[in-house]
Symmetry: C2
Subunit: 335 residues, 2 copies
């Protein structure tokens, strides 16, 4: 008998609620995504209207009802699991951290329930010691990434603040953050380079997993000159190349991206074995990291950004927020 989607019922609401964005998924009782919402109602925007922790909780209640209330009409007692800055001290409820080294399976034992709700928040991870670091939200992407790919020794989660995570099996040994995405945004929005950058005239960028020639050129220049000149000098070459007629304004953004990603990756790979590296993120950006990593001899696996939904499902299963789906019999799997 074939799998019959109509037989399934809603099983879980999963939220990745970060500083500046909200992603919600409705999963059925087998963990398959059946609906999704996306919004710019990040925790920063929600919490800035609130003056006390009580007001803040009410603001998060209201935002959640507005964004996901329609899913609860089908089944009012749906469990909810959430990760990200929603668990920070400016979030819905403070969900703490697990110190690394930490097994990802332990996340499920440390959920924080938002008082008076069915919402459970996943703790973040923290690096103690001389090189402290923190993550919130990326830990469930790690869980999802490990479910999808052969066990990597390193997972990169590119973004505003890229995370480089060292793993031994499903155990996070340590991680570091690079604010590459934020630097890119600042430079292309407000710097002297922003005034040089023009919109590309043709179709937007290469298709699929390719990267643009301007991005590759940024990698080339960084590889050849980065150790000698430093990032602040390399970035200025975007201006001097444009002034010398050797870089088109439409290529400035990709060239700067190549310099920044090249510098981040070249330094990061010094501390990791050139082994299997998983890159977890949306395609245009993830492909850029893949290309940069492959130049250093790494074997790269791309994991799509819905890893967060899979990871949240797995943590909810481990925490028994949702019943384990019945194992299908061989007959059910036959066409």
């Amino acid at each position: 008998m074939v799998d019959d989607a109509s037989r399934r019922t809603a099983g879980l609401i999963a939220l990745d609620w970060g500083t500046t964005s909200f992603r919600g998924w409705l999963l059925d009782d087998a963990g398959t995504v059946v609906d999704r919402v996306r919004s710019a109602d990040g925790t920063l925007q929600v919490s800035e209207r609130a003056d006390s922790s009580g007001e803040r909780a009410a603001a998060f209640d209201a935002a959640f009802a507005r964004l996901c209330g329609h899913w609860l009409q089908q089944r009012a007692d749906l469990p909810v699991i959430a990760a990200g800055m929603v668990g920070s001290n400016h979030g819905w409820a403070e969900a703490g951290y697990l110190d690394v080294p930490a097994d990802l399976a332990d996340l499920a034992d440390h959920l924080t329930r938002v008082p008076g709700t069915r919402v459970h928040i996943v703790p973040g991870l923290r690096v103690p010691g001389p090189d402290p670091d923190v993550m919130r939200g990326e830990e469930v992407q790690l869980v999802g990434a490990l479910a999808e790919t052969e066990r990597p020794s390193t997972v990169v989660l590119p973004g505003t603040h890229s995370k480089w995570v060292d793993l031994a099996g499903a155990r996070v040994t340590t991680f570091t953050t690079a604010m590459t995405g934020e630097l890119y945004g600042l430079l292309l929005r407000d710097s002297i380079l922003a005034r040089l950058a023009t919109e590309p005239a043709g179709p937007a960028g290469p298709a699929g997993d390719e990267v643009s020639a301007a991005f590759s050129r940024g990698l080339d220049v960084e590889a050849a000159r980065g150790d000698e000149r430093g990032l602040a000098a390399l970035l200025f070459t975007a201006r001097t190349f444009v002034m010398a007629g050797r870089l088109d304004g439409a290529d400035v953004a990709d060239y700067v991206s190549g310099l920044l990603v090249g510098d981040e990756v070249r330094h990061a790979v010094r501390g990791i074995p050139a082994d299997v590296v998983a890159v977890c993120g949306s395609r245009p950006v993830a492909s850029r990291y893949r290309i940069a990593l492959e130049r250093h001899g790494a074997t790269v696996r791309l994991v799509d950004e819905d890893a967060a939904a899979r990871g949240l499902w797995q943590v909810a299963l481990d925490a028994a927020l949702v019943p384990a789906p019945a194992t299908r019999t061989t007959e059910e799997l036959l066409p």
Copy 2:
């Protein structure tokens, strides 16, 4: 006979007219600064009201008259010499570039006179070839710096866009630019680090040539970890240290400055002999570069930022815009 200031008359108006700032000096006929003006009427602000080159010239005429017109009441035919972005293609008149290697004495042979005025603009310097670069305004600071200090092999001009200039005597062999100051401004104005930084509670910073402990800590962290982690990761430590209770919000700005200046200097000294380095700039910033350079074994000379006025006077003398002051006899120099 002692030098009698009352005998002197106005000799020259000198302008350092950059993108976002205007500095003007009135010099007497011996090249001594007798009056000065400072304004935020940079070339960007003046030119943005103009739609054509004719309108632009009129806007610069008007801004100059408003800022320096009172000096011309004393002597209407005062020569004027100017350097900086005022000589760019968005300035008063385009003054071109000299390609390096170039003797600084050659600047005087390539002044551009603004049509219908007594204003002469100094050309910028340009590095041709695979690593192009440009400067406008710093070239007259170099002339002034060389007049003041023993011949350095390198001159650093810290700023929004720091210049590192290699010299052989008074010949500029090459130079590079690092956008360190601009990165600092972007990070402390708009990034996640800006939200952590608080105003210092006590008196503002150390006095004189000292630097703060937070700046030194930034240098320390960069020296220990920069090669391994890269700038985008190092900068994020300002956040993780604050979150771990190991950096005070009031120290964020100086700590970030230490990371950035440390990274710039550590890379820049790889390409220069650890010899005499002159740092030309205003005191708080120049002292930071001095400390960072001395950590790499350089012998540092500080040159104050009025080097531009001295340099403009020297170029005006070389170009015979002003008559050479009469050489004083030995008797005149006796008290």
